[in-house]
């Protein structure tokens, strides 16, 4: 018995050690990035990126402040797109999900299939791109950041529908209808308030997707004024690569006009792009995990 107990403790200790090492590995790159962002530029070029800065300087963050017109604009764009996108998404998702949960809605299975089918088959990126750009002329508009792919997805709709079906009793709706409430009133006064948990879950997933998105920017945006922070970072990296490939040729000089931020400053920009995720994540991770479990099991 005692032996058994010992071996259990040993096993637990081994698990703990491995997990602690894994945790350090997961977080270390962020430490390196932060450290690079507060290292003096000369030291950074001389010693490279290090986990502990040899010479601390906050010049990079001062640089970001000086560049607030471009960087700040991208940041603001990310906030607007994320906020507006998430809000719209939650509204249209739940409005689509509610009738599907109504047992007395005759066509609900047909509509559910229409939604479900989009989860299994898609036309691919090329067709999407041509339709959005040639028929809806979305290129270089604000809508390109908001609408393609991200605004609503079938999985969220079905998740919300399942929630309505399992947690909102028909009798409440029946009672409201007897009292003469209209469908819209039932939806706004009863359904929305009762479904806050699932709506919070899908808004977290959607918000995360909007904040982290760069593909819509990659495909549809060339106008710097419309860059979100991730699109800005992507573009910056592209210019750096361009510069690197050109400077190996002899004509590097004419690219000087690109005005690229220094090595440390790039990391500072990346740092402020993850900052909101870093700050919010500890508070929302419980909700997200619940969402993953529900979504993973059925969908």
């Amino acid at each position: 018995m005692k032996h058994n107990h010992n071996s259990e403790t040993r096993f637990r200790t081994v698990c703990l050690i491995i997990l602690l090492i894994f945790t350090v590995l997961c977080l270390a790159p962020f430490v390196l990035m932060f450290s690079a962002s507060i290292t003096e530029e000369d030291a950074l070029i001389k010693d490279g990126y290090r986990f502990f800065p040899s010479q601390i300087s906050f010049a990079t963050y001062a640089f970001l402040w000086a560049k607030r017109e471009t960087i700040g604009r991208s940041y603001l764009m990310s906030i607007i797109v994320t906020g507006l996108g998430t809000l719209t998404s939650v509204i249209i998702t739940s409005m689509l999900a509610y009738p599907l949960a109504r047992r007395d809605f005759k066509w609900r299975n047909a509509f559910a299939f229409i939604i479900f089918f989009t989860m299994m088959f898609n036309g691919g990126m090329t067709a999407s791109y041509i339709i959005w750009t040639r028929y809806f002329h979305i290129k270089d508009t604000f809508w390109a950041l908001l609408i393609p792919n991200l605004l609503m997805n079938g999985m969220n709709v079905l998740m919300v529908r399942n929630y309505y079906q399992s947690s909102i009793p028909d009798s409440i709706l029946e009672a409201a209808r007897v009292d003469g409430a209209s469908e819209m009133m039932i939806y706004r006064r009863i359904i929305l308030p009762l479904s806050t948990p699932v709506l919070i879950t899908i808004s977290l997933f959607t918000g995360m997707a909007y904040w982290n998105d760069w593909t819509n920017g990659l495909y549809y945006i060339t106008n710097q004024k419309l860059f979100t922070i991730n699109v800005y970072l992507n573009n910056l990296m592209k210019n750096i690569q361009l510069l690197a490939s050109q400077s190996s040729l002899t004509e590097g000089a004419n690219l000087a006009g690109l005005d690229l931020p220094a090595v440390g400053a790039r990391m500072a920009i990346a740092m402020i792009a993850v900052l909101p995720v870093m700050l919010i994540f500890p508070f929302i991770q419980g909700q997200l995990i619940k969402g993953v479990v529900i979504g993973g099991v059925k969908g």
Binding site: I114, F116, D213, T215, M237, A270, V292
Partner: protein
Amino acid sequence: MRQAKGVRKGRGRINYLPLLLMMAPGLIYLIINNYLPIFGITIAFKQLDYTKGILGSPWVGLKNFEFLFKTKDAFIMIRNTLCYNLVFIFVGLVLNLAIAIMMTEIGRLKIAKFIQPAICFPAMVSIIIVAYLVYAFLSSDGFINNSVLKGNEISWYQSPQYWPVILTIVNFWKNTGYGAIIYIASIAGIDKSLYEAAKLDGATKMQQIFKITLPIIRPMIILMLLMSIGRIFSSDFGLFLQVPMDSGVLYPVTQTIDTYVYRSLMVLNNVGMSSAASTFQSVLGFILVLGSNLLVRKFDSESALF
């Protein structure tokens, strides 16, 4: 049946119009965002002429596909997509399960409350940020070249031979903690008395894992495996485009179907090739999803999608 209908009609109170109006925005979005591109698949069988539009462009049958499969690119991108996915799926499964079992083991310790979000965090940041992080390690003034190799510099972004390993590490770094969640949840659902009984019989920890935990969560494992096999022709676009910094030298080991579709459409401006590759991916993906779901239904009809 008829009676039920009669009753409903008799009450005659349900007016579908408000319900349909509520659904309208979402349905319109699905039609534009999802169904139009499905019909847009015809582009792959046409010689697209923008002035004539998709409908007006002439049909060319399978020409685009013929051209695509005559190139070396076709073999490379399909090989890469499949090989990376196989490693990601099977090694990933082992890692996810290992993390889930270890997390369950330390679940009652206070520190688990810190470890859990920390190991999930990499999955929460955009792949652009990940590319910057990798760059901080691998660039010419990166951590590896300056602090580890010290002088024996390797120009990572010019050396294809390392990238299968680098991309695999990055993938697992980003997804392992997050991927373990689903298994942590299913392990949490196992009846604790089973372990108590096993302990009384003198079962070791390893025996408990292999004789109790894994067999009980087997349906979940099979379900997750089949779902990922259904997606085996899709790749994480950002991982293969952004993390290697779009470096041309690396294409032989980093080109996947998704990056090919992007490059031929946006960089090379070759709609024919791009749409052929993209249609190939969608159609095979669809067949695999259907197939894997049929299998899921065989193993565990509760978990089947349809």
